[in-house]
């Protein structure tokens, strides 16, 4: 069922699609984190901002991705990376903003109060106490967002830029299953690898978090 010779012949192209896929899947996560941090912190600081922000993000999240890609074509162009990256960034935000807010909320009151009592100013407390303690919760959100971003990129193939998703269209149009199988396997491996790396990163960054539930 699998034509190994096809894989051999198309290796350079597959490699290129994989690279494209990685960029389009991970850039939204990075951008999402950069935007979610200030927005999340603002929502913690001004409680009333939180519900509207999450509301808007949830509405965006509920829009069918294909529809969003199509709407964006006139702005960002057909078959451009940006057409995929922009909506995926919004999807990432829908997961990451609540993670940042929950992460900060996971700092126990007594820990925050003893930081205040020892003479931490607000900025120092944020950087040295609140954010480091929020890391495990935020990283849990990053894992969800990353895996879903990796799988969503392939939908972009319908507007001409879908990384490995192109292999699905190619295989389907030619009634030739090999590219489809290759695409699925690579996307799965990519998701597993990214998730595994994040787990390792979490272990290294937060060695203190293993018995966290008791804190």
């Amino acid at each position: 069922m699998i034509r190994w010779d096809w894989i051999g012949r198309n290796l350079p192209e597959i490699r290129e699609l994989l690279g494209d896929h990685i960029v389009m899947a991970l850039l939204p996560i990075l951008l999402g984190l950069l935007i979610a941090l200030p927005l999340g912190l603002a929502s913690v600081r001004w409680r009333r901002l939180y519900q509207p922000t999450v509301g808007i993000m949830n509405v965006v999240y509920s829009l069918p991705s294909l529809a969003v890609f199509i709407v964006l074509i006139p702005i960002t162009g057909l078959a451009e990376q940006a057409t995929v990256i922009v909506p995926l960034t919004f999807y990432a935000l829908a997961v990451l903003i609540p993670s940042v807010v929950d992460g900060i909320a996971s700092v126990p009151t007594h820990v925050r109060q003893s930081a205040v009592a020892m003479g931490f100013g607000p900025m120092r407390r944020l950087l040295q106490v609140d954010l480091p303690i929020a890391v495990p919760v935020v990283l849990a959100g990053v894992r969800v967002a990353t895996v879903s971003s990796i799988s969503l990129v392939s939908v972009g193939a319908l507007v001409g830029r879908g990384g490995l998703g192109y292999l699905f269209i190619d295989g389907w149009q030619r009634q030739f299953p090999t590219p489809i199988v290759v695409g699925i396997v690579l996307i799965l491996l990519l998701a597993l690898a990214a998730d595994g790396l994040l787990v390792v990163a979490q272990r290294l960054l937060t060695p203190w978090a293993r018995a966290r539930s008791s804190a």
């Binding site: 126990p108 007594h110 820990v111 109060q113 003893s114 930081a115 205040v116 009592a117 020892m118 003479g119 931490f120 100013g121 120092r124 106490v129 480091p132 303690i133 890391v135 937060t206 060695p207 203190w208 978090a209 293993r210 018995a211 966290r212 008791s214 804190a215």
Partner: protein, 374 residues
């Protein structure tokens, strides 16, 4: 010295947590704030380091209004210990302890060296330094909390129910540790608790607050127990007030030295000692001068030595150091009703008879007449 001058705290919702509090917290002493839940203890404490600002009145720290000091600066000079320890879960123990030195800009090695010194000081194994808080027991975390509060050697220490979340045995050892530390360090300590036993054990002075945030009485523990200001305080001190009071009365008991026999004495000698003293219970002392039990001379065999007799259990107290409560406790362990007095090395110095103990306790009760109904 910390002085509350007519301090009132009204929260935004109208709750009056502290009402016109006038209180002096003397330098180098432990002042305990005690009272039922919601009486404003935590609020009072937090107004000192400005985690909460007073609505009315002033709090002076050595004559300076705390409101004129920038909060972070003020707080770095005041140690703070709370019930759950409040350790930073993401920092190793040594770095937790070094928190305030870091904030004050000490260099890292000096701050860490200081932290290690403090860990030892509060009775912790320095091998724990590289662990994270979750790897410590509750009692150990609480000691780390105390070490952290002391790290920058602040003159003032605020402690909000620091030992109430640990089990009673650990609590007792933490209390003893605090008293030991205080005898070296002479900090000005404000200690909050709702446990009256803890209050009278630790406090040089005890301030009793009532719900509504008013001060009911402030006094040294012995005065508080012997002369509660009103029914509220009396009620709060509880039913064991009389027994607790005995902790503050030294065991100045008349000691009899004619009621002891060596553990190798002949039965006839025992009978002779008993007859001469007019009492039947005698304390048996070994060759090292240490007590080994009581014998009842009313119940002697016809011949033999003390070694053949069944010795009855006994209790001891250190004359000149222990309280009347310890002496009474020692007496309650012995069927003779008497307590054996020993010196610091545990050698017998005499015997307090049941009669002497009864006279001493009824003397205390007579002093209390008119000041309490008990």
């Amino acid at each position: 010295m910390i002085t509350f001058e007519g301090v009132t705290k009204r929260y935004a919702d109208g709750t009056i947590a502290v009402n016109d509090l006038h209180l002096e917290v003397p330098t180098a002493e432990i002042t305990v704030l005690v009272g039922p839940s919601g009486c404003g203890k935590t609020t009072s404490l937090r107004m000192i380091n400005r985690m909460i600002d007073a609505t009315e009145g002033k709090i002076l720290l050595d004559g300076v209004d705390v409101r004129t000091i920038d909060p972070p600066t003020l707080r770095r000079g005041i140690g703070y210990v709370i019930q759950q320890a409040g350790l930073f879960p993401h920092r190793k123990i040594v770095d937790n302890v070094a928190t305030v030195p870091y904030l004050l800009g000490w260099d890292k090695s000096k701050a860490r060296a200081r932290a290690m010194e403090l860990l030892e000081r509060v009775g912790l194994d320095t091998a724990l330094a590289e662990r994270y808080p979750f790897q410590l027991s509750g009692g150990q975390q609480q000691r780390v909390g105390v070490a952290r509060a002391l790290a920058a050697d602040p003159p003032v220490l605020l402690m909000d129910e620091p030992f109430s979340a640990v089990d009673p045995i650990v609590r007792t050892s933490l209390q003893d540790e605090l008293l030991r530390l205080q005898s070296d360090l002479h900090k000005t300590i404000v200690f909050v608790t709702h446990d009256i036993d803890e209050a009278v054990k630790l406090g040089d002075r005890v301030a009793v607050l009532r719900v509504g945030g008013t001060l009911a009485q402030v006094a040294d523990p012995a005065t508080l127990l012997s002369a509660p200001a009103d029914d509220f305080v009396r009620e709060f001190l509880g039913r064991d007030r009389g027994i607790r009071r005995l902790s503050f009365v030294p065991a100045d008991l008349p000691l009899r030295t004619d009621l002891t026999v060596p553990d190798d004495a002949d039965i006839s000698k025992v009978a002779g000692v008993a007859a001469a003293s007019g009492l039947t219970w005698l304390a048996v002392v070994d060759s090292g001068g240490r007590p080994s039990g009581w014998v009842n001379a009313a119940d002697l065999p016809l011949s033999g030595t003390v070694a053949d007799l069944r010795l009855m259990p006994y209790g001891t107290f250190v004359a000149g150091r222990d309280s009347l409560r310890s002496a009474l406790d020692a007496a309650l362990l012995a069927p003779s009703g008497g307590a054996i007095a020993v010196d610091d090395e545990g050698r017998v110095t005499g015997v307090a008879t049941a009669g002497a103990l009864a006279a001493a306790t009824s003397g205390i009760a007579a002093e209390g007449v008119g000041t309490g109904r008990g």
